[in-house]
Amino acid sequence: MKSTVDIEKKTIIDIEKLDLYYESFHALKSMDLQIPEKAVTAFIGPSGCGKSTLLRTLNRMNDMIPGTRIEGKVLIGGTDIYGGGIEVESLRKRVGMVFQQPNPFPKSIYDNVAYGPRLHGSPPKAELDELVEQSLRQSALWDEVKDFLKKSALSLSGGQQQRLCIARALAVQPDILLMDEATSALDPVSTQKIEELVQELRDRYTIVMVTHNMHQAARVSNQTVFFLNGVIVESEDTEQLFSNPKDSRTEDYISGRFG
């Protein structure tokens, strides 16, 4: 189905008739979706519905899975990322990702954040220092780590590690940040910090998040997309979707009747 969402913001990601197959398994079925710029879009749905698969399609993470076949278009800023001539590395610089488990490198806090900028060039030390500080500030971690930048990232708590991963993703100055259940391994206080961070960041970045926590989607997103069996059932302004969904399958899911 075509998304009926009426978002005033400019569309940055435009998915057109997207089908994805893992070998013979049809994982995403004829999906159409527009994702607005500088807003938070949440993907919800039961396990196996295709939400993480679609998220991974947005920075071509599925390319690594053998037997994956994709039809249709994923336009980011008007360019089809599955069209010819796209460099996956520069795509992933533009579309960063944060995973369920915090995965800092076994390096210092500073080196974790500086890793991406160093990979994409060799900025002078002063510039790099500034980028690291700015990224750690944006991820609300600076005040907690500014005196220990040379300390191992692995010494941080789980919640701090996840914010470090967000800082690492922001350090390459992406436009889009993908978050795949980024708080599901965290305690409630760390989860709250990440949610507050997402709300801080949404004015500057386009954030697309997969979450199993419906209330998290309701709390932090502008647009919510409900998936079921590889199909987008409903894509709607979050307040509208959680107060008066159009499709009875959405109502049944968010009311706990299945899933």
Binding site: N244, G256, G259
Partner: protein
């Protein structure tokens, strides 16, 4: 995620309490008008005394609904079911208070002969009892057609009220010594007319419950 079985059980309890509140209001209104017609102060006192039960039911609905919101974090229609239960219980509680006000008029005119036989008041009360039944049925069956029909019933009540006021005002001009009782009877008309408005509010709540949109049936 909502624990459906427990949630549905509690929702059923809310529905059952609202049905009981509706029945209480109908009985209170019927009793209050009869007490007025029959100078039955004992019945009027019983109605006044019974009001605490209605208040207790409203409080119970608030407790159950609040607990459901806190523990189950309902969304969409489930959340509207609770919001609407709060709103309807508040309307029914007010309807009970207004029926009680009618009974209090019986107590205030104790011992006096009625200045005229009551005609419009019992007719209004009959329609309003029907509206209360319709309101509760519309809620229990989620029947928006019935909710809309109540707006027409309300117009009928407003019409009767207006006619009754005109008649009593003329009466007061002709018989100044009857002014005090005639004023009380206009108040009774006002109380019953307000009960009809609250019943119409319940109809609006039913439309909101079913559609998520807020209509204005009380025009």
């Amino acid at each position: 995620m909502i624990r459906r079985l427990e949630f549905d059980k509690n929702l059923e309890e809310l529905r059952s309490l609202l049905r009981e509140m509706g029945e209480h209001v109908i009985d209170a209104l019927e009793g209050a008008v009869l007490s007025l017609q029959q100078h039955d102060t004992t019945r009027a006192q019983e109605i006044v005394a019974a009001d605490v039960r209605l208040n207790a039911m409203e409080e119970k609905i608030m407790d159950i609904g609040s607990r459901l919101i806190i523990t189950q974090q309902p969304v969409a229609k489930d959340l509207r079911r609770i919001i609407v239960a709060f709103k309807i219980s508040s309307d029914l509680e007010r309807m009970g208070d207004l029926a009680l006000d009618v009974a209090k008029v019986t107590l205030r005119i104790q011992g006096q002969e009625l200045i005229k036989p009551l005609v419009d008041i019992p007719r209004m009360a009959e329609i309003v009892k029907l509206m209360t039944t319709e309101a509760i049925t519309a809620y229990l069956d989620e029947n928006t057609d019935l909710a809309h029909k109540m707006a027409l019933d309300d117009d009928q009540v407003d019409h009767l009220y207006s006619a009754m006021i005109n008649e009593l005002y003329s009466y007061m001009i002709k018989k100044p010594d009857a002014v005090s009782q005639a004023m009380l009877l206009t108040l009774v008309g006002r109380y019953i007319e307000r009960i009809a408005d609250h019943a119409t509010n319940i109809g609006e709540s039913v439309v909101y419950l079913v559609t998520g949109k807020r209509p204005d049936l009380n025009r």
